[in-house]
Symmetry: C2
Subunit: 258 residues, 2 copies
Amino acid sequence: MEKLSIVKIGGNIIEDEASLTGFLKLFSNLKGHKILVHGGGKRATHIASKLGIASKMVNGRRITDAETLEVITMVYGGLVNKNVVAKLQALNTNAIGLTGADINSITSEKRPVKEVDFGFVGDVKQVAHNAIDKLIKADFTPVFCAITHDGNGQLLNTNADTITSQVAVGMSNLYETSIYYCFELNGVLKDINDKNSVIKHIDTSLYKELLEQGIIADGMLPKLENCFDALNNGVKSINMGNTSMLTQENDNFTTITL
Amino acid sequence: MEKLSIVKIGGNIIEDEASLTGFLKLFSNLKGHKILVHGGGKRATHIASKLGIASKMVNGRRITDAETLEVITMVYGGLVNKNVVAKLQALNTNAIGLTGADINSITSEKRPVKEVDFGFVGDVKQVAHNAIDKLIKADFTPVFCAITHDGNGQLLNTNADTITSQVAVGMSNLYETSIYYCFELNGVLKDINDKNSVIKHIDTSLYKELLEQGIIADGMLPKLENCFDALNNGVKSINMGNTSMLTQENDNFTTITL
């Protein structure tokens, strides 16, 4: 099986021109087949507020009403995605920007209304790995933004981490897949106050130990749960750290395997 | 040679939900290989004004400054393009939304500053017909918005009619191409005051006659000049009329050939 890297960057890299340019160079230099997934974050909030649309949050989570979905479609699918694609082309990476609607690549289901109505938010139902593979086989590099569709004409806002893991799971039917989650930390930390206390390798048994010791907590809990879910569904390895983990020189990041 | 239809719709169809839905059904039913090109028009002006960006016009032409380019990228590349793609998917057309930056499909050159500085406006330099053909061969239907790139990371605003004719010329290397320009009239009219005075067929000699008689004037002049330019560069036929020309039943539109 050939290898495929799925790299995710968050809003903090997107926001900052110098960070984005630096990252895109590393991504372009990454050997082999690859897919990029990006969030959009604050840019959408900023433009929404300029348009007089208030960000609605419930329990720290954004509610995507019709107006907010329009802004997300403009910012994630247009402004951010197309600028990333243009910058990658300048670095000789033959990028193609996608939402889940394009080539019907990611179908999702509008989240059912329970205590909270999240609005136009989609939970991933299906990844069209064969369609995505046609792009890869044509030597194009897919660049996904955090938008999916329901197959009936409705775009839906979907978490970029989830898109990353679901696309990786889907592509595991055809490739040996590795995920690279780029974030602000150097990796999963043993001591949250010591940024150099990176745990270099986590497997299932260490994961259980760390959970019991309470070392994995707060925001890291759902992230790692998501990781082991992906690993249990065919993803070979998951890497977490800052963008320099994409270089060969830096081995100070966390690799997670079963 | 296989046939390929390149269909262009303008802002007036995009603006109106019912017109757009009706058109997309016709487009979906169109047999054979096809490409859609769309403008964006008033939606961009509307959102720009909401964001406090004034539309700058010189001699009736929009000046694309950096802020305006951002809005165009959001509206054409995001909001309009991705909603069209999602709607086409619901009609079982496996659409893929593109700017000229995606798969490096349309490279352009920033228009040189002469009497007027048009800003971030690009004149088409090259169409990557082989790259676009990889999508067609994969059974995807390209949907282009009116944005190109310079290959150095800069997106550029480009007239949708020009994108249509240039893509058609490029694809003529591989296909027998026909353009369908959908607009508000039934076709090229003999008498501008009689909407049913459609000239059904224009060839080179009739074109010269019509020019001499002053029947082709104003806005139609550059449109037809553009058409004959495309025909002289490999496009087989060009059709102008309202969207119903895409059906078999209606033959009341203008077909232009050499």
